[in-house]
């Protein structure tokens, strides 16, 4: 029997369709892998074996009945713990929601169920998606399968690590400032932040509502496209959902033709502060793009230099408002309710006990930035920077079809290295944040290993609003050329777990 955990979603789909394997067998192979390695990786917060196998059996029964099956039917998936799943734990990596069981499903979960995808469990994340290393999870860090002493990126480190550890072929992440793309980069996997509004946010526990976007993660560009198409599309339950048909991402991923495509190299996102090995692999990828027939030009987006500062005002402002609902009254943790404390005291004690240090820092920054006397200087100015960043993107996309940069300035760093240095941690997202501020879309895909440490490097592709299919066209072609060069998938070079 083929090693089921090494198969792509597309390969599993073919095997399932041909009747060579059952969804039950595929689920068992992945659950067994999780049982074998996740004690060391800690990609998952919750795995419900019985529930997963029952779902797989339902999918097998449906196929046996002769019903029409979707392309991902029976393929397993790891779900970031920030998406509500009815009756299942949904902790957001926080003590605040340790015992919460949502009474409803996120729209993304409904779509996965409708596509007969088999959800394996919920993945670890920085608390309420605030972080770039998954170290801010209240349940302990996730370890990078390439080197267990290193971080897997964040906030969606659990989802990315589950792919790199062959615990799941598909995963869902969410990306507010890079939480899909940066983990993909440092684990040698693929991740896409779709255009804002392309995937419903209903049931996604909000961090910063104008920046949050759920998206697909996988080990190949084509698998990512298959998952993108399963979850994207209009949802009346999300007032910011885009009401337009979804482009054919899978066809774009398979096109493998870059002739005439104009690729902009963003000057501000590749020089200072980027690790030498990251720059080297990026420059090689640029040369490869040229050899594939693309026209690579340099573009300048000067206001990107202010993106990080604007982001760390806008995000905390929105987060401080969104997280005000966790007050211990109707659900979640309640602390200090001893009959003596007033409701306000109980709220204060509950929130101090339920939130970790990074969440508390951001709530206070946001409260400060929105307070009278400081609002114009901080939040107001940050919103103007947002306008300038949109203008820079608009100008760049008048001459370019897509833009590229390294996804993250460094490869995976050591667990603990930046834990108590918020600014150093924030710099991880320097190349990914502009995309969230402007609302367009971005992909990260692996382009090799940095020579100095042997760890994966990611390339970011950026496309305009609703240009998500261009990500897959540019990503699919580069991936095919790299695989031809290497003769294997990059994860074949990762040490055995």
């Amino acid at each position: 029997m083929t090693d089921l955990i090494k198969q792509t979603a597309r390969q599993l789909s073919d095997l399932l369709r041909a009747g060579d394997v059952s969804a039950h067998e595929v689920a068992v192979a992945h659950l067994d892998r999780i049982a074998a390695v996740d004690e060391r990786v800690h990609a998952f917060l919750h795995v419900d074996r019985e529930y997963t196998l029952a779902r797989a059996d339902q999918v097998d029964a449906k196929r046996a009945s002769g019903a029409a099956m979707g392309v991902l039917a029976g393929v397993p998936l790891a779900l970031k713990d920030v998406l509500a799943m009815k009756g299942q734990p949904t902790t957001c990596g926080s003590r605040m929601l340790e015992h919460w069981r949502p009474p409803y499903n996120a729209t993304v979960v409904e779509r996965l169920h409708a596509a007969d995808v088999v959800i394996l469990g919920k993945t670890n994340m920085d608390e309420f998606a605030m972080g770039s290393s998954t170290e801010f999870s209240a349940y302990g860090p996730t370890h990078n399968p390439w080197d267990l002493d290193r971080i897997p990126g964040g906030s969606g480190g659990g989802s990315a690590a589950s792919l790199a550890a062959f615990e799941a072929p598909l995963a869902i992440g969410t990306d507010t400032g890079g939480s899909i793309r940066q983990p993909a980069a440092v684990t040698g996997t693929v991740g896409v932040k779709p255009t804002y509004g392309a995937v419903s946010r209903y049931g996604l526990v909000a961090l910063a509502s104008s920046l949050d976007q759920a998206g697909p993660c996988a080990r190949t560009v084509e698998d990512t496209a298959l998952l993108h198409m399963a979850i994207a599309g209009y949802d009346p339950k999300d007032s910011t959902s885009i009401n337009q048909p979804v482009a054919d991402m899978v066809a774009a991923a398979q096109r493998r033709d870059l002739r005439g495509m104009r690729i902009g190299l963003v000057k501000e996102l590749s020089g200072q502060g980027f690790q030498a090995g990251v720059r080297q692999r990026f420059e090689e990828a640029v040369a490869l793009y040229t050899s594939l027939g693309a026209d690579v030009v340099e573009v300048s987006c000067p206001s990107f230099d202010y993106a990080l500062a604007a982001y760390y005002l806008i995000l905390p402002s929105e987060a401080s408002s969104n997280l005000a609902k966790f007050d211990g009254m109707r659900y979640g943790l309640r602390s200090g309710d001893d009959g003596e404390h007033s409701v306000e005291q109980v709220m204060g004690l509950t929130r101090a006990a339920g939130f970790g240090p990074e969440v508390i820092r951001r709530i206070m920054i946001g409260t400060y930035a929105l307070s009278s006397g400081y609002y114009d200087a901080y939040y107001g100015s940050a919103q103007k920077v947002r306008t300038l960043i949109q203008r820079d993107f608009n100008a760049a996309f008048t001459t370019c079809d897509v833009l590229i940069s390294p996804t993250a300035p460094t490869t995976a760093f050591k667990i603990g290295e930046k834990l108590d240095d918020p600014l150093a941690m924030y710099l991880n997202d320097i190349a990914t944040i502009p995309v969230n501020l402007a609302g367009n879309c971005g992909m990260s895909l692996p382009i090799g290993l940095a020579p100095e440490d042997g760890l994966p490097v990611g390339l970011q592709i950026i496309a305009p609003i609703n240009g998500d299919d261009r990500l897959y066209q540019a990503g699919g072609a580069l991936e095919a050329a790299l695989h031809a060069q290497w003769g294997h998938h990059i994860l074949e070079e990762a040490p055995a777990l």
């Binding site: 007032s239 101090a352 939130f355 609003i465």
Partner: protein, 98 residues
């Protein structure tokens, strides 16, 4: 711009309903100052002629038909309550004693 004082941090914690002890307050004050100092540069870049953007997409008010639809049952709504009584959420006392 001058930094945040410890008293200001204590006030922010109160506004945000976070009960933080004195020792942690000092640590947070130090870190918030570093962060605020580094993000304050946003005020240097855009002039009065640049409009603010609060959202990536043009937002329109989305309405749904005003018709009945199923919602959560009482038991479902209370299923995650930290405390409940007679089918309602039970909360700590709301009025401070004078």
């Amino acid at each position: 711009m001058s930094g945040i004082t410890r008293a200001e941090v204590a006030h922010l914690a109160k506004l945000a309903r976070l009960t933080i002890d004195d020792e942690h307050l000092d640590h947070y004050a130090e870190q918030l100052n570093v962060i605020i100092e580094s993000v304050a540069r946003v005020s240097e870049v855009a002039g009065d002629d640049v409009p603010a953007t609060s959202h990536p997409l043009p937002l329109i008010n989305v309405m749904r038909a005003d018709v009945q639809r199923p919602g959560l049952t009482n038991a479902e709504a209370l299923s995650n309550a930290p405390a409940q009584e007679q089918g309602r959420f039970r909360v700590p006392r709301i009025l401070d004693e004078e």
